[in-house]
């Protein structure tokens, strides 16, 4: 009997499988789709379409230091430097079809859900136009109300039906509702397992090295409709529980401070950011990522599925976003918060100042902001990041002292 794989081994194996399967499908003449990161993958999974995720791909390209040639290619085509760097990397890749990471096949169709931003609509429109391929759009209206209204749920459901109709036309066969039910069950279980594993980070000291979330995330994006992802997150959970039992952690140094990381990682500087935080014993124990893919609904409950996809944090109103961060900080016992003012993400940035003020008012936890970008390495300065973290450490230490005196 072979020895059980560690989560790290499993993660690498599954990532490889994800890219290989897409390439093989393309070679065999099968369909490949590109999808936004929190789109309802259930439909393509049901129809056996291999789905690739440009945001994930761009993040990996950025993390491996290969963003610049693709960014420059897009800029040469007229894409402004002010636009999302994931989009610029992907639109550059679409033409160059060569990058420092896995080369992915071009799509036969695309699926776009704007529950994380409306920028995606524009980006995907351009892919559809340039490649002359069908686009499936799931428009999830921004929730100005705290809860998703029934009118919005009905609208999204109507689009699910339209997506099924489009897929039947593209695939030339009827939609398989039995398989759909199965995929929905798997997806929900994957989401539950993911959430369970990530929530273990709340333990003091945290068994999780917060930066590992950025690695695990790749799989909850790509494979949350496949049973392998359940296996992976179960393994992650088992390892974390084992660490808790032994009073140990993935975090390599003593956990001096626990913080919430707001926003997307700065992929090109992941290692720098981690080392800077580690040097002060700062572990990221809170982030919005666990919640982002906790898409829970009962199988065959299309209203529930619509509501789940519409409730993704970026799509909720400011009051609910404030509550989410406040709860993260409280539940994971954070000493501070780091806000990434991500040059690529207007939706996250343009509410962030008010978010910071309101979260601080509710938690009293000190915070710092740094200027960065998810994948454009030109929009980040190491020195600024280091200075801000140093300032945060001073504030957190001061607050700890005061709290100890009380």
């Amino acid at each position: 009997m072979s020895e059980k794989l560690t989560s790290k081994e499993l993660l690498n194996q599954l990532t490889q499988k994800h890219y290989t399967d897409a390439k093989l499908a393309k070679e065999r003449g099968g369909l490949v789709a590109w999808s936004t990161s929190i789109a309802p993958q259930e439909f393509c999974e049901t129809m056996g379409i291999e789905v690739l995720y440009p945001e994930n791909h761009a993040a990996a390209v950025g993390a491996k230091g290969g963003a610049i040639p693709l960014l420059q290619h897009s800029e040469g085509n007229g894409y402004s430097l002010d636009l999302c760097s994931y989009a610029r990397i992907n639109l550059g890749y679409m033409e160059m079809q060569d990058c420092c990471f896995e080369n992915i096949p071009l799509p036969d169709l695309i699926i776009c859900c704007n529950n994380i931003c409306n920028t995606l609509i524009k980006w995907y429109e351009n892919i559809a136009k340039e490649l002359n391929i069908p686009m499936i759009m799931i428009d999830v209206p921004y929730n100005c109300e705290y809860e998703v209204t029934q009118a919005r749920v009905d609208y999204i459901r109507g689009q699910f039906e339209e997506a099924i109709r489009q897929l039947e036309e593209i695939c030339g066969r009827p939609f398989d509702y039995e398989r759909f039910e199965e995929v929905m069950k798997i997806s929900s279980e994957a989401a539950t397992t993911w959430k369970y594993a990530m929530d273990l980070a709340a333990h003091v000291p945290s068994p999780l090295n917060g930066f590992n979330i950025f690695n695990y995330m790749a799989l909850i994006v790509c494979m949350r409709g496949k049973p392998e992802s359940i296996q992976l997150f179960k393994t992650v959970a088992e390892e974390l529980e084992e660490l808790i039992k032994n009073g140990a952690s993935q975090f390599p140094v003593k956990e001096e401070f626990r913080v919430m990381w707001e926003g997307i990682a700065c992929w090109p500087y992941l290692s720098h950011n981690f080392k800077t935080l580690k040097s002060y014993g700062i572990n990221v124990v809170g982030s919005t990522y666990p919640d982002a893919w906790t898409l829970l609904y009962e199988a065959n409950d299309l209203d529930g599925m619509a509501r789940a996809y519409a409730s993704v944090m970026n799509n909720t109103n400011l009051a609910r976003q404030v509550d989410l961060r406040t709860n993260i900080i409280k539940d994971t016992k954070c000493d501070g918060a780091i806000y990434h003012l991500n040059r690529s993400c207007k939706l996250m940035d343009f509410m962030q100042y008010e978010l910071q003020r309101q979260v601080f008012e509710k938690t009293g936890v000190p915070y710092v902001v740094f200027d960065g970008d998810q994948t454009d390495p030109r929009n980040f300065a190491k020195a600024q990041f280091e200075t801000r973290i140093q300032a945060l450490v001073e504030m957190m230490a001061e607050r700890k002292k005061l709290l100890a005196m009380e």
């Binding site: 894409y79 636009l83 759009m137 921004y142 209204t149 009118a151 400011l318």
Partner: protein, 377 residues
């Protein structure tokens, strides 16, 4: 020419002093004023309530307080709208309708709640999949929400009959404005780019029935004038808007006539009529489904490029000016596609950056001058 000049002066007074117009309206009628943040607010509902809908397209100001909500890379319209809100410029408004077709507007709508609590926000989120039945039904519920919010403000019901009547008034206004843009193309020696812009902009601060009458009379006066051969070049403008006025003066200085536009503040707003019918909200939802060729409306076929190419050919334009609102994602994503299509169609294109807060127009001058030389070359 006297009557024509008088009409233009009347319009100019409205555009130059919107705050006075609002105050006067409130004093004379005792009715409410409701702001309409871009884009595509259902103004007819405000009108049917007897209130005055007022366009909120920002303006030239010094940005200072807005920095506490927006970093520097937000578009200048929303920056100045926020600055005005924080400075109390909108305090005469009872409420502001805030749509959410882009990420900046979603944020503005939320930030507004703490930034300007004195002006009630009325949120509306238009469907992007407006061509399917579920999209139209959803749009109706959004419109119903706007109607009920305004009813709360005025303390009265807005009847279907009143709404249908307002729709007719607005359809007439839209037809009149379209006719004006056609006439303006014939009389560029009288209707300069700046005057053209101001005639269109004035409608955002006036009761539409009055404004339509003024513009109709203006059209009549223009038609009496001799048609002269235009010695300069002809262009079509596309983008969100063209301001400040100094920029429009440059077009005049370099002898460019604006013979048509696809600006969100201008023709995009009035190019689609509300279809006939009995149910006013269904009619308004149907109008939304008909709107297209706009960077803020989902279109995987991206028909905007071909529309502009057709406009340029039909109007015998010498070129297209893409007025790029700085930091506007939707427009910036359309640009590479448009650029490619115009190149293939052999239509000269000028990319002109728009920032309402631009301190100097000299950079724009260089670009407009350069474009003029290319076209003359």
């Amino acid at each position: 020419m006297d009557r024509l000049n008088t009409l233009l002066e009347e319009i100019n007074a409205v555009v130059s002093h919107p705050a006075q117009v609002v105050k006067k309206f409130k004093e004379e009628t005792g009715k409410k004023v409701i702001g309409c943040v871009p884009y595509y607010c259902p103004e007819e509902i405000v009108h049917a309530a007897g209130a005055l809908p007022v366009g909120m397209w920002g303006g030239q100001t010094r940005l200072s307080k807005s920095n506490s909500y927006f970093p520097a890379f937000a578009c200048s319209i929303m920056q100045s709208v926020m600055e005005f809100a924080l400075n109390g410029v909108y305090d005469d408004l009872e409420a502001a309708i805030i749509p959410a077709p882009c990420d900046t507007l979603k944020s503005l709508g939320q930030d507004w709640i703490s930034a300007a609590p004195q002006v009630k926000p009325i949120h509306i989120v238009h469907p992007q999949m407006s061509h399917i039945p579920a999209g139209i039904r959803y749009m109706e519920t959004e419109l119903e929400h706007v109607r009920s919010e305004i009813e709360k403000i005025i303390g009265e019901k807005i009847t279907d009959a009143a709404l249908n009547q307002s729709i007719e008034i607005y359809n007439e206004y839209r037809q009149t404005m379209r006719e004006f843009t056609e006439i303006a193309a014939i009389y560029p020696h009288i209707i300069s780019p700046k005057i053209r812009h101001r005639v269109i902009k004035g409608a955002y601060f006036a009761k539409k029935e009055w404004y339509t009458a003024v513009v109709k009379e203006l059209i009549g006066e223009l038609k009496k004038q001799p048609v002269l051969k235009w010695p300069g070049k002809k262009v079509i403008l596309t983008g969100i808007m063209v301001e400040p006025d100094g920029l429009l003066d440059l077009f005049d200085e370099y002898r460019f006539a604006v013979i048509g536009d696809d600006l969100a503040q201008e023709s995009r707003d009035f190019r689609t009529d509300v279809p006939a019918g009995d149910q006013p909200l269904a009619r308004l939802a149907a109008q939304w489904a008909l709107r297209d060729c706009c960077s803020l409306i989902y279109d995987p076929a991206k028909k905007r490029g071909q529309m502009l190419i057709d406009m340029a050919r039909d109007g015998e334009a010498d070129g297209i000016v893409l007025c790029m609102m700085k930091f506007c994602d939707p427009e910036e994503f359309d640009y590479p596609i448009l650029k490619k299509e115009f190149e293939a169609a052999n239509i000269p294109l000028l990319y002109l950056e728009i920032d309402q807060q631009m301190q100097s127009i000299e950079q724009a001058r260089t670009r407009i001058q350069g474009f003029s030389e290319i076209l003359l070359g």
